[in-house]
Symmetry: C2
Subunit: 151 residues, 2 copies
């Protein structure tokens, strides 16, 4: 397994180089402990007409948190795959008035093992992941996405 | 009612000035006929690791199409309001390999009249809107968002 600090640096490079709009949004990989990934973004480049965070930027950070977690977990197992978002839903609880972070955790280890078993057998599997966007005021956004990994 | 050509120019200014990340994404207001709004975005600045459009950029274009349509319709009636996205869901049917457009239509006139009646009475109302992202290959993304307008 790669060391988490290496993973943080690696994922930062992947986001910047392969999804260049993330540079414009100022997205940073903040933390990864092998189970939970945390991304962060500054408010300024992601501001909307109400001087709060644009809903599309909040969505982008959330969808990338799930994507990044799945990417790192697959890499650690040496599994080459393409990972894409298939469908998702998002609820905006509070306006985001500050810089913000998004957290995604591999919460359901049983679902993860089932996902891996199917991926290894069929070369294609899907898994649902939850991400939360937090600010000092509390939970601002709940995101649920279904990701597909395929060889 | 404002002339649609004026509305197109006005909405373009609003997006560029008030949601600056839309400039980075190259989002353009392409068409508006009083009922349907069409936005477009180029692939290049919105590319992902697979050289197709990043799911967050597709979401952003879709959510702005609903937002922009509601904004223009409220403006035409002289109704001052703040419009925000409350919750949404999105399905990615096909990878997007070219520049892309998003369409949103005020399809349910009964829901629109009910929304207006509630907004006028309570100063706050919500309405669901559908947006579709289309490419030469067909329907690539289906989006459904619930928007809230409040005084």
């Amino acid at each position: 397994m790669k060391h988490p600090v290496h993973s943080i640096h690696h994922l930062q490079q992947v986001l910047e180089n392969e999804i260049p709009i993330t540079r414009r949004m100022g997205i940073r990989v903040k933390d990864y402990d092998g189970s939970q990934l945390v991304l962060e973004a500054p408010l300024a480049p992601n501001m909307n007409h109400k001087s709060t965070a644009f809903g599309g930027s909040l969505y982008s950070l959330a969808v990338l948190t799930g994507w990044g977690l799945l990417y790192l977990r697959m890499q650690e197992l040496g599994l080459e795959s393409h990972i894409v978002i298939f469908e998702s839903s998002i609820i905006y609880h509070l306006p985001v008035k500050t810089d913000f972070i998004s957290q995604c955790k591999m919460a359901d280890e049983k679902a993860w093992r089932r996902f891996l078993a199917i991926f290894r057998r069929k070369g294609r599997a899907k898994i649902p992941l939850l991400a939360n966007i937090l600010t000092r005021d509390g939970l601002a956004v709940s995101f649920r996405g279904t990701y597909v990994a395929h060889v």
